[in-house]
Symmetry: C2
Subunit: 328 residues, 2 copies
């Protein structure tokens, strides 16, 4: 009888969890975007269905900046680089005259934006080098613990989108392997993606600077060089997906033209596919920007999404809540 | 009562499987090498033990050539490249005079070996380019289906070491994530590592050639360029481990000086560590080579293994059987 009770408890407990999980996306308003996500996951994971995908092939790739967390008013990594350039300026007198460093030291946001994505990445790389990989990780962890988003006043890791956390969790619960494929630096993301997104370091693909193996006082060390190894943006994203993952994703999530080729590469595979763009339309609770934005421009990809019937999330319409904390 | 019977069946069934799996390494002779492997896995996976390692951190890295499969008389990928250079020679008249292509076309094995590892990799890269990633995968699959090892007369994928297959399976059964970290080309390995080693494509790290994303007749395509991107050997191995995996392994398996830095990097981490070298000592059933070998030289790493008490497998002494098929 005790066994029977245990058995029933187990079965009912399981049934109970399923009932509780009936709405896997509570922060999404009912509508075509939410429905498309739920349908795709259901169709690709229902054994015997015509669109069933074996677990090993359930690969979903996510851009990070503007897709999983807030990228305004500046990329978070740029805010980090700015703080770090200011910290290191004493050791680099040449930065007083060299762009984009000068812009940082003079708080000249316009020149900083004029430097373009490549200039910004150079800034990031230069301000990130000269440390061992372990030292750099500690610098990132320390900065994230104290830095605050200028508008929301809370840690950047709390400026992640609640609906996207639910989407990640839903995919993970159904056996999807979720990857980040970001233009951001891989070593800027890995220290916190497991805790925040449930994505382990080995599933984070991003831009890299060169590192070199050396024995430092006899201790094997990887030193970070001030040299860009790879920029994981635009055409680089499918290249990196192929190099790091070696499988074509069946689902891709982005928010800007930098994600277009990743979505094209995903969409062009055989079998069921899912492509989604987050369209920032909620100036009240976050930001509203698209075709003319400096950061996170969404122009060509938006046009292509419409032509290909990719899912476009209208943040204001489709999300009941933007962040885990805070109103809406 | 039916429930009780079900319950007992379940418990006894489980107990039964454990009993059957009592020797996870049946092709290993009893001795210090086998014992070291069994002890390490047990110590790192026994909850509450002082050397327990959480599942997420159980990362084990394996060299491929000479560690998991036979690398004599030539690296398998070199045999593939030779066949492919011969196939493509009609389109490349310049190869008649350029080394190392000339050596291939004239079956001049000495000049081929003199070209060194870098020359050989160049040969491999040049003979592997000009195709899309999907076309190249098909070429690899087709070649492996028909090519035969010159001494053993069977497919190369059957020239894998049975004791190492058991070791991989043992680690995998205990929650280890097993990676290949090879000097070989990543796209030469990925098509078959799941079937042969139980290692999925995303856990294969290796040398790469550059690829470029383009729309070919409107179809998103990754084209392989005749340009080396990264050579995953020696100092490159810890660099690649950090870049691709982002975690320091706790166990590393190699067989040559090309694996030394990978073992050093692994050994230098905190907590329990395991480093193993396969020493080829069985000329009767495979090959015997070490400090003076052209292919798979094991010299500095052997010295360092002795100094650091890493586990060294003496193939003749420690392995009861070398290959899955064939005698011993």
């Amino acid at each position: 009888m005790a066994l029977l009770r245990l058995f029933l408890l187990f079965v009912l407990g399981f049934w109970g969890s399923v009932a509780v999980a009936a709405d896997p996306l509570p922060s999404w308003n009912e509508g075509p975007a939410k429905q498309a996500v739920v349908d795709f996951v259901s169709q690709t994971t229902t054994a015997g269905g015509k669109d069933f995908v074996p677990a090993a092939e359930r690969v979903a790739v996510f851009d990070n900046d503007g897709t999983l967390w807030c990228e305004k008013p500046l990329y978070v990594q740029l805010a980090f680089a700015i703080d770090r350039v200011k910290d290191l300026a004493g050791e680099h007198p040449e930065w007083k005259t060299e762009q984009p460093f000068r812009a940082v030291l003079e708080n000249d946001q316009k020149s900083l934006l004029d430097a373009g994505e490549k200039g910004l990445l150079q800034l990031v790389m230069a301000s990130h080098a000269g440390l061992s990989t372990e030292e750099f990780e500690q610098v990132v962890v320390d900065w994230l613990a104290t830095a605050r988003h200028p508008r929301f006043g809370r840690p950047y890791t709390e400026c992640v989108y609640q609906p996207m956390l639910e989407l990640l969790g839903h995919l993970q619960a159904y056996g999807y392997k979720t990857y980040i494929v970001s233009g951001g630096g891989v070593e800027f993301m890995r220290p916190w993606t497991q805790a925040v997104y449930g994505i382990p370091p080995e599933q984070v693909v991003g831009s890299t600077i060169k590192t070199v193996f050396e024995l430092r006082d006899g201790m094997p060390t990887l030193m970070r060089l001030p040299e860009i190894d790879f920029i994981d943006d635009k055409e680089g994203k499918p290249v990196a997906i192929h190099k790091f993952i070696g499988r074509r994703p069946i689902a891709a999530f982005g928010n800007s033209d930098g994600d277009l080729q990743m979505l094209q590469w995903t969409a062009a595979g055989k079998g069921p596919r899912f492509c989604l763009l987050v369209h920032h339309t909620d100036a009240e609770h976050e930001w509203a920007y698209d075709r003319d934005s400096h950061v996170g421009r969404l122009d060509k990809a938006l046009t292509e999404a419409e032509a290909n019937h990719w899912t476009v999330v209208d943040m204001q319409r489709d999300w009941e809540q933007v962040f885990a904390s805070g109103s809406k």
